[in-house]
Amino acid sequence: MSFVILKAGFLTTVQDTGRHGFQHMGVSVTGAADSLSLRIANILCGNQPNAAGLEMTLTGADIRFEEGSLIALCGADMSGMVNGKPVPLNRPLFMPKGSMLTCGAAKKGCRQYMAVAGGIETRPFLGSRSTDLRLKSGGHEGRALKKGDILKTGGLFEKNLLFINKISALSENFPAWFITPQELGEVHPEGWLRFIPGPEYGWFDEKTRRAFFSKVCMVTNFSDRMGLRLSGERIIPNIKKSLISEGTAMGTVQIPDDGQPIILTADRQTTGGYPKIAQLITADLPAAAQLKPGDRIRFLKDDIQTAEKLLENREKHIKKMETGVMQWLKLI
C-alpha cells in the first residue's frame, strides 16, 4: 500500500521508537519525540510497537492514500479532515482508496503522529527507521518529507486485518469510542514538568535551584528536535569548572554558558560537557515533546519512586486499553 505527500507541512519525518545500541559510536537515538502518542497510534492500527509512523510538527501534511488504508492520528490536534469532513484523533480511521487527509496548524501542542497499518516501510538504518536529520540517514532518504514523496507500508498482520475489516464496515469509517492519552499518560494536571535532580545539581546554590524550579520560563524559537531552548531567569552554577564530556539522556536539562536551560530531546548529541542540573522523568517526556515556541513551563522537583510509579501506572492503563480494544474488535 502506498500514500503520496501532497503537502509536507513544517517538518514531517518518518520516526519509530529510535536507534538503540549505537550511541557509543556517536549515533543519536532520534525517534518520535512524543513516543507515547506514536505508541498509541500504532496500537490503534494493530501494529507492532516498533512500527514507523509520521511525525508532523506545528503544521501537518496533506496525504492521498492510493489504496484503502487504516490510520490513526494521536498527539496535537491539527484539524484533520478527510475529503472535507473532520476526522477525530485517538481512534482508528479507515481511509478509502483515493481519499485525502488534510492537516492544518496544531491547535494545542506541537506534534501529531500518524500511524498506518503495516507500518511505514523504509530501508532501516542501523536497525531503525527513524530519520537522522544531521547524518542524513534513515527514514525516507534521510530527510524531511516533501511534496511528491511516495511512501509504502509493510505487510499486514492478522491484527491489522481485524481492525481494517471492522472499521471499514462502520458508516463513519471510525468507531464511536476513543482513547484519552492524557489519562493514559499520567501527565501533571497543571502541565508542569517533573524532574529528578541531575548529577550537577549540587553545583547550583539553594537560591539558584529555587529560581530553576519556581520561576516560569518560556520555550524559545530556537527549539527543535535536538532540544527545547528555554528563556527565563539565568541559572548560573556556583562551581566554575569544566565538566569533562559525558553521555546524556532524553530529557537531560543542561545549563550552557548563557545560563538558559536546554532540555535535550530526540536528536540530541550522544555526549555533552555542560552541567546537568536536572533530568525530566520519563513519564513527562511526551508532554515536553508537545511544547512549542511561546509556551510557558515550570519545573517541579520529584523523586525516583514517584517517577517509577507513574511509569508503572501508565503501563497498566495502556495494557488495559489494549485489552479493551481487542475485546471490541472480536465482538460481532
Binding site: 557509543h24 542501523l126 548529541q269 517509577e308 511509569l311
Partner: protein
C-alpha cells in the same frame, strides 16, 4: 582494580532510566580502561532491562528500561536495584588492559587549504609548521571516546607545545576528514559540521560507514598515529587502512 580508584567510583542517577558511573575526573588511560571494561562487560552479559551504555573519558552512562527491572522488596526503587547490579559487576569484572601495540595509522595532509589553522598554531606556539607536524605525528594517541557526531574520536594526549585551545567562535562549516586540536585533545571530524577545533590537516579516510560490518573506524581504547602525506597522494588513500 586500583583501590584508590575503586573508592572514588560514584554511581549517579540520570533520571529514572539511566545512571552515570563515574570512575574519576581526570583524563587518564587507567580510568578510561575501567570505563571501557564495564561497557564491554555489560554488552557481553547484559542484565534484564539493559539497553546500552555510552563510554566517555571518565564515565559510563548506562541506559535501561525501568519497567523491565523486576521490583525487589529489599530495594527502595528499581533504580536502586540496577545500582546494586552494577556494583556487583564492578567488583567481579576483569579490567581490560588495552593493548598499546597495533595502532591505527591515519594519513594526513597537513597545512595549506587542508589545514587552515596550521599558520595560527605556528604563531601561537612559536614553532615552525614542519615542527608542529613532527610533534603532532610522533605521538601515539589513545582514543578515549567517540561522540559529538558519529565516528568523531576524542584522542589524547597532545604535546603541550602544540596544545592550542579551541576557537572562541566556532566555524560554521568544517570539511569532513578535518584533523583538529583543542587543548590537549586531537580529533577528526567525520562529517561536515560546525566546530571549534583548530584545523591543521585533513585525512581522506572515512571514519564512519553505516553499511560496513564495523561502522566506526576507531573505537575507545584504540591507539592511533597520524602520518603526513603529500596533497597529490590524498586521492590514493580512499580505502580503509590495513
Amino acid at each position: 582494580m586500583n583501590n584508590k580508584i575503586k573508592n572514588n567510583i560514584c554511581i549517579l542517577p540520570l533520571g529514572d532510566s539511566a545512571l552515570i558511573v563515574r570512575f574519576g575526573s581526570d583524563i587518564r588511560p587507567d580510568i578510561n580502561d575501567l570505563v571501557i571494561s564495564l561497557h564491554q562487560n555489560l554488552n557481553k552479559n547484559p542484565f534484564e532491562g539493559y539497553i546500552e551504555s555510552v563510554p566517555s573519558y571518565c564515565a559510563l552512562t548506562v541506559c535501561y528500561d525501568p519497567l523491565k527491572i523486576k521490583p525487589d522488596k529489599i530495594f527502595k526503587s528499581r533504580q536502586e536495584k540496577v545500582v546494586s547490579l552494577i556494583k556487583t559487576r564492578l567488583a567481579d569484572m576483569d579490567t581490560i588492559r588495552l593493548k598499546s601495540g597495533g595502532a591505527v595509522r591515519i594519513p594526513v595532509c597537513y597545512g595549506g587549504h587542508f589545514g587552515p589553522d596550521l599558520n595560527l598554531l605556528s604563531e601561537w606556539s612559536g614553532l615552525s609548521q614542519e615542527d608542529i607536524v613532527a610533534r603532532h605525528s610522533k605521538t601515539v594517541y589513545r582514543v578515549y571516546m567517540i561522540g559529538f557526531t558519529p565516528g568523531f574520536p576524542y584522542m589524547g594526549t597532545v604535546d603541550a607545545s602544540i596544545a592550542m585551545p579551541r576557537k572562541e567562535t566556532p566555524r560554521l562549516k568544517i570539511h569532513a576528514g578535518s584533523v583538529g586540536i583543542a587543548g590537549n585533545q586531537t580529533g577528526i571530524y567525520p562529517i561536515e559540521s560546525p566546530g571549534g577545533w583548530q584545523i591543521i590537516g585533513r585525512t581522506p579516510l572515512r571514519l564512519f560507514n553505516a553499511h560496513a560490518e564495523f561502522p566506526c573506524l576507531l573505537s575507545p581504547g584504540q591507539s592511533c598515529v597520524f602520518y603526513p602525506v603529500k596533497p597529490d597522494q590524498f586521492g590514493a588513500y580512499t580505502r580503509e587502512p590495513e
